[in-house]
Amino acid sequence: MEENISVELENISFGYSKEVTNIDNISFKVKEGEYLTLIGHNGSGKSTIARLITGLLLQRKGNIKIFGETMTDDNVLKLRKDIGIIFQNPDNQFIGSTVRDDIAFGLENDCVPEDEMEGIIQEYAARVGMDEYLDKEPSNLSGGQKQRVAIAGALARHPKILIMDESTSMLDPKGKRGILNLIHKIKENDPLLTIISITHDIQEAYNSDHVVVISKGRKILDGTPDEVFADSKKMIDMKLDIPFFKKLNIELEKSDLSKYKSNSLESLVKKLCR
C-alpha cells in the first residue's frame, strides 16, 4: 500500500508584498508519521512555510494538500483542526489566566466534556513537567515554562500534524532535551503523528527522519539526514551548523594537520595521544 502523505506543498510561491518573493516555487512531501526538520538561515523563509501550511498565509501560486485534500477558503478551518502549531514566542499564544485555563482553552473549543477535561489537563501538564504550576499565572512563568504549557495545550487536542516553529529555541539545554525527548515519547505512543520542526538545532535535525534545507526562499536540499549532511562545506556556505567533528576536521585540514582528522573523540585521542 502506498504511504499516506500528510502534508504536501506543490510549487508554492509567496511574497509579503507584490515586489518581493519570499518563497520561490517550493515543493516537498511529508509522509504520515514522519519527523521532518526544516532548516535554513534566519530569513530563509522557514517560518513563512509553517504559516502557509496552517493557512495563516495564502500562497501566491501552488497548492497545499493536507492528507490529500487541497486547502481552500472553504475547508481551511476543518483542515486546521488536525494541525497543532507551536510558535517561537509563547507570549503570543497564551490565552488563559492560569496554566490550567490555558490548556483548557483548546479543549473547550473542541467541546470536550467538562468532567473529562481536568484529567486531560493533568496528564499533559505532567508530560511537560508543569503539573505543579496549574494554578500559576502565565505572566509569572519564565519563557521556557510558558513554552512547555503551549506544547501541552497543543498536544492535548491530539493533532495529526504538529508544527514546531523554533519552539525549543528559548529553553535551556536541559529543558530543550526534555521537550525533544517528550516529542519522541509521544511519537512512540502515536507513531502516526507527523512532526514538522523548524529548528537551528543540528542535533535535532540529525535525529529526524527527513530534512529539508531552505535558503533565500528556495529549497536547496531534501533528503535523509545522512544525504543532507554529506556536504559540510555546502552547509557552512548556507550559514548552517555542522556536527563537531566535521568542523574540527575542516580546521585541522586548514592547519596542515589532516593526519589527525577523526570522526569520534576516541579516534582523535588515539591519533593525537600516543
Binding site: 534566519n42 517560518s47 517561537q88 500559576k136 529553553l171 535551556d172 550559514k239 580546521e251 594537520l257 573523540l265
Partner: protein, 302 residues
C-alpha cells in the same frame, strides 16, 4: 562605577495568591568593564535579576546600586538616590531621574523583535535617542551608526521593520539600544533563535562593545558562548546565586556541574580528554575549535 546588589530579593505579585519569590537574597559585585554571562535553568531568576540592573524592577527587599544610582523600596515607596548628590550638601534633592539610569544601563529584552512598532527602521532606532533628548538630526546620525554596528546596511533604515526576517528584526531592536551608547549593555538571551553565523556576528559585536571599555552582561543558555567570549559567569538556581566565577573554573568543577545540570561545551570536554591522555595542551587557551587546533599545532610542532 561598579554595580552592587546587596541582599536583593524580589517577589512577583506580592500579597496575592500568585506571589512568587523569583530572587532570594542575591548579593553581587560587578566591576567596571566586565564581560559577564548569567546562566541557569529556565525560571532560575536570570531575567528577573537583569531587570533590576536598569531599574525596571525594584527589589522587594535589599538595595541595588548601579554606578551612582541607588534603588530600593522604603515603606512601600520607590527610592531613587543619586549617591553623588547625597554626599554633596549643595543638592537639596537627592533623587535622580530614572531616565539617566536607563541611558547608563541599556537593557535588551528576550525577543526584542516583538517590541518594534514604528513605520520605518530609522524611526524605530531613533525612538530611544529622541526620548533622551537628542534632536532629529543627532538621532538619525546615531541610527546610521548603530545599524551598521549590528551588521545591516543603511538601506534598511527606510524599510518597515515588519517586513524583515526574525533575525534582522532582532538586530534592529538591538540597534535601538546601542544607539544610546550605554555604559552597561544588558542583553537577555540575545542569540536565541539566530542561525550560527548570526550568533557569531552578534557575539563579535558585543565583544567589540566590551573591547571599547563598556560592560556587557548577557543571559544565555549557550555554553559555547560562555567559554569563548565572557570573562565571568554567574550561575542562578531557583532564585539564588550559586556561583560567581570564571568559565574555566566553572567547567572544571565536575561536582558543581552535575548538581546544576550544566554541560560544558563539547570542545572543552574534548580538550580535557586529550590532556587526560597525555597531550600537553593548555586548557585555558581553549575557547573554540580553532583555538583547540592551534594548541594541537603548537604541541605537535614543538
Amino acid at each position: 562605577m561598579p554595580i552592587k546588589l546587596k541582599d536583593v530579593s524580589y517577589t512577583y505579585s506580592q500579597k496575592t495568591p500568585f506571589a512568587f519569590e523569583a530572587l532570594k537574597h542575591v548579593s553581587l559585585d560587578i566591576k567596571d568593564h566586565s564581560f559577564l554571562a548569567l546562566i541557569g535553568e529556565t525560571g532560575s531568576g536570570k531575567s528577573t535579576l537583569v531587570q533590576h540592573l536598569n531599574g525596571l524592577l525594584l527589589p522587594t527587599s535589599g538595595e541595588v546600586q548601579i554606578s551612582n544610582y541607588m534603588l530600593s523600596i522604603e515603606n512601600g515607596k520607590r527610592k531613587y538616590v543619586d549617591l553623588n548628590k547625597s554626599q554633596n550638601k549643595k543638592y537639596r534633592k537627592k533623587q535622580f531621574d530614572i531616565r539617566n539610569l536607563r541611558k547608563y544601563a541599556g537593557l535588551v529584552f528576550q525577543f526584542p523583535e516583538y517590541q518594534l512598532f514604528e513605520e520605518t527602521v530609522l524611526k524605530d532606532i531613533c525612538f530611544g535617542p529622541k526620548n533622551f533628548g537628542a534632536t532629529d538630526q543627532e538621532a538619525e546620525m546615531m541610527a546610521k551608526e548603530a545599524i551598521q554596528l549590528v551588521g545591516l546596511d543603511e538601506s534598511y533604515l527606510s524599510r518597515s521593520p515588519f517586513e524583515l526576517s526574525g533575525g534582522e528584526k532582532r538586530r534592529v531592536a538591538i540597534a535601538g539600544i546601542i544607539a544610546l551608547n550605554p555604559s552597561v549593555l544588558i542583553l537577555d538571551e540575545p542569540t536565541a533563535g539566530l542561525d550560527p553565523q548570526g550568533e557569531r556576528e552578534m557575539m563579535e559585536l558585543f565583544k567589540k562593545i566590551y573591547d571599547a571599555g563598556k560592560t556587557v552582561i548577557l543571559v544565555t543558555h549557550n555554553m559555547d558562548i560562555v567559554l569563548k567570549y565572557v570573562k565571568e559567569v554567574i550561575v542562578m538556581k531557583k532564585g539564588e546565586m550559586l556561583a560567581h566565577t570564571t568559565p574555566l573554573k566553572l567547567f572544571q568543577d565536575e561536582k558543581f556541574l552535575i548538581n546544576t545540570a550544566i554541560e560544558p561545551p563539547f570542545v572543552f570536554k574534548v580538550a580535557r580528554e586529550l590532556i587526560d591522555n597525555g597531550l600537553d595542551i593548555e586548557l585555558d587557551k581553549i575557547k573554540d575549535i580553532s583555538s583547540l587546533v592551534k594548541e594541537i599545532e603548537r604541541v605537535k610542532h614543538e
